[in-house]
């Protein structure tokens, strides 16, 4: 079975600083990879996804992620964070893009301070 590890439970950054959130997965093949964000008292919103091709994918609100097959990783980055980026970020994987559900990591809570 696949698994997802987000090693950082909490990250605190200053507004305007860069952000990197780590995600590692365990699966024998290349899975479908996703980053979702959960704002307070809300559901999940898709930031970006990777299926194949260019390992660097661009998402919404200035987020990007880089897939590394050799490291089994899919780290999320943002060059300059805003206070509104404070939220919980979830990395998720799926064995295929249709007939399987998602396996989520535990999430990383990001707090952005002015």
């Amino acid at each position: 079975a696949q698994s997802v590890t987000q090693p950082d439970a909490r990250v605190t950054v200053s507004e305007g600083a860069s952000l990197q959130l780590r995600c590692k997965y365990s699966y024998s093949a290349t899975p479908y990879l996703f980053w979702y964000v959960q704002y307070p008292r809300q559901g999940l919103q898709l930031l970006l996804k990777y299926y194949s091709g260019d390992p660097v994918v661009q998402g919404v609100n200035g987020f990007e992620a880089e897939f590394s097959k050799s490291n089994s990783s899919f780290h999320l980055r943002k060059a300059s964070v805003h206070w509104s980026d404070s939220a919980v970020y979830f990395c998720a994987v799926s064995m295929d893009n249709y007939a399987q559900g998602l396996t989520f990591g535990l999430g990383t809570r990001v707090s952005v301070f002015p």
Partner: protein, 116 residues
């Protein structure tokens, strides 16, 4: 655009009673619908996946007897939490996918269940 609506947004039920939640896909055909639960301070657990023309597949620790799901058409799904107890509280999310290969699952805002 494509959206997923869930209702109710919040609900409270007495211990031992049941509660039904609904999920509606708007702007696309939901050929697969997955239900997840986020228990307090935890991540999202997959409860079951429903795919058109296939049987509903439940994950370990979740059963049809406890969480019956209906997926009667390509825009609607419902799930009931039967005989709810304290451990069933949490945020229940519906994630729907369309038939196109590059479509990521879209989630609703969730139904937050409290059990008294």
């Amino acid at each position: 655009g494509a959206l997923v609506y869930q209702y109710p947004r919040r609900t409270i039920c007495k211990s031992g009673t049941s509660m039904r939640m609904e999920c509606q896909a708007v702007g696309f055909q939901a050929t697969s619908v997955a239900w997840y639960r986020q228990s307090p301070q935890k991540t999202f657990e997959l409860i079951a996946l429903s795919t058109v023309n296939s049987a509903i597949k439940y994950e370990q620790n979740f059963t049809q007897e406890k969480f019956p799901i209906s997926h009667p058409n390509l825009s609607f799904s419902s799930m009931t939490v039967l005989n709810a107890y304290l451990e069933d509280r949490g945020l229940y999310l519906c994630g729907a996918r369309g038939r196109h290969n590059n479509q990521a699952p879209l989630f609703g805002e969730g139904t937050r269940l409290s059990v008294l």
